[in-house]
């Protein structure tokens, strides 16, 4: 998009906020699910986010993160995933026994690989 032209009108075209499930890339989800099958079990109760040590300081939200990974929307997570302190509290409160700590670790790994075109 040409900035010059956008400026001519004084506005641009807003990007869609819609998740298009048919075009989004779910490689990260597949990577994480394969290595941490308990990933499937999350039912989004938010217990992890409630107890999260990092979440008390910043908007780190594992519940939302898992949802976004499942939908293949990882752009927002690139930064967020590094905020986790891996303290493991979330693992202890998860009612579904999701190995949340490894979900974070595997997500970080998957995103690193994705960014290096290794996924």
């Amino acid at each position: 998009m040409s900035v010059r032209q956008a400026n001519r009108f004084g506005f641009g075209i807003n990007q869609s906020r819609q998740i298009n499930y048919d075009t989004s890339d779910r490689k990260v989800r597949d990577y994480v699910t394969l290595r941490e099958p308990s990933f499937r079990l999350c039912f989004a109760c938010g217990g992890c986010s409630a107890t999260c040590t990092a979440g008390e300081h910043i908007s780190f939200n594992l519940r939302r993160m898992i949802t976004l990974i499942r939908r293949g929307e990882i752009d927002l997570l690139r930064d967020e995933v590094t905020r986790c302190m891996l303290c493991g509290k979330c693992m202890l409160v998860c009612p579904r026994g999701v190995n949340t700590r490894n979900v974070v670790a595997m997500t970080a790994e998957a995103i690193r690989k994705l960014d290096r075109n290794e996924l």
């Binding site: 302190m85 493991g88 190995n99």
Partner: protein, 631 residues
Amino acid sequence: MSSEIFVWPFNLGLYFILIYSVVRSTVWFRNLSRPDKLRLQRGFFGIPFMQSIKEIFMESLLHRRIFKKNFVLGYMHMSLAFGWFLLIVFGTIEADFFGEKHLNPPSHAIFFRAFNPDHGAVGLARAYTHLMDFLLAFILSGLLLAVIKRFIPSMMGMKKTTKHTWSDRTALLSLWLIFPSRLLAESFTCGTYGSGGFLTGNLGAALASFLPAAEIAPWFWWLYSLALGTFFFLLPVTRYFHIPIELLLIFMRNSGITTGDKSSSYTEVQTHACSSCGVCIGVCQMSYAAGINDIQSAYFIKGLRSDRDIAAITANCLMCGRCEEACPVGIELGPMRLIERRQGERPDTAKRFLERYSLTGRRSTIERESTQSYGYLVREEAESADVLFFAGCMTHLTPSVISAMKKIMESAGVRYRFMDEQGGVCCGRPLMLAGRDREARELINHNSDIIWKSGARILVTSCPICYKIFRESYYLEARVMHHSEFINLLIEEGSLRLGYLHRKVVYHDPCELGRGSGIYEEPRAVISYVAELQAVPEEGTMSLCCGGSLGNLTLSSGKRALIAADAARSLTMSSPDELITACPLCKKTFGQATGTRVSDIAELVAAALPKPVKKSRGRPARVTTKSLNHG
């Protein structure tokens, strides 16, 4: 005679392995850090050297540690190692003494009887021959046990034994062939010439009575030489390489070299010093309680040696330290695994190949992005306090521990500040266990800042995970105490008035507190002060892991539950009233695994406080200042 062609397989093998060992050792030495090089040089001239010699004799030859664990296994190792050693020593003496000339090539001693077939018929030589025969028989007895162990491990008291690669199998076969072929070679030769000791002489005579001994003997000398040669050639690519490398390891260790936090020559030496004996498999709870049998340290080390992608193995370990405690070679398995975790993903195969065969032989680590992860943390204004109490993340999930600690400290009149009352920042240990040191360092800096600014002289934590990192990786002025140590101090100083609870309790050593930090006595002293402490089957250095460990990234909750249930069963065998631990994570894990009540040591002590808890009577800061004077 020394130009006999059959000695050449042996000669080639021997020279190869000698040259290989020298080159390899040189490369390793060159790659040592400067301080480590100095340590090693100093170690060669002085007491460490004597210690090493002693240790080599005791461990590498006599296998004292294995003996202590398992007599038959110890005998097997001793007979092979010490027996062979003696055979070489006495063989060399024999060749030197009785041979045609002195300073013979090694082959002369090894094939002495092939060159001196009629030797040892009379006198001193005959007695010597009997000695040599005895040594051979000694080795053969060990070999017999080895064969039995290979096929029926349970007969040797082994639960699990490692799986072999093809090169291991070939080397093993050649190793097994060495001594029987020597026996037969010597016997046929002796049978031909009517010489030999009680073993070779009699067996030779018997064989020669119905076989053309003179024609057969060379064949077995060939076999003997080939077996030796093959074994030497294969040595660098098999588990048996551990035999020479272990000697090097002992020298390095006794010189004061430690694993550290990066891969180095020392980690490589340790990698090659592993004999794949499988002791680590037997003690691993993940194996016998959770049925996971491919991640134990023996496989981890094997993976390192073969340079495969072992990320899954590396991550799947409780880091409880039991295997390290049990390792007969004394490899620092925990730090080795952490190094591997720190390394992250390995470079791709092609790159690995290049690196593996480059001169330095060192793997490069992939640089992690150096951006800050926790830049969002706000530096707090710290209030000053004598004693700073850091509950830790996990302790916030066991609020009863926090309230017990508050009661205890109030009762003892301790002036303290609760550092993470509103939920603090993680200590960094979980990140470190995941191999993410850079990130951990950010948290360490954040917390250190608060601790320093508080001016506290004692930092008390309820979580052994935090305790370990506070002690090892934080640079603090404050004395770091686990709450069991702190309570013990309060009791010793007489600041705590405690009743006696008529309860039978058992104590579980949390991994990070016991094996991790060496704190075994203080918790026991505290418990014994307020209740009846009963013994449990595996305690102290070999205490069990609860299964909840943060050291493991990948273990499923189901498998963790299996480990917890097994450990809880073992701990509660005596049907105690209460299972006491000193770690919030252990408490939570055991809480779901046993019907026995599980309490933290602080809760036990709080229960022994006089009721109702009264405000301290005129003894405010006394406790802490006093403890600091001698602490």
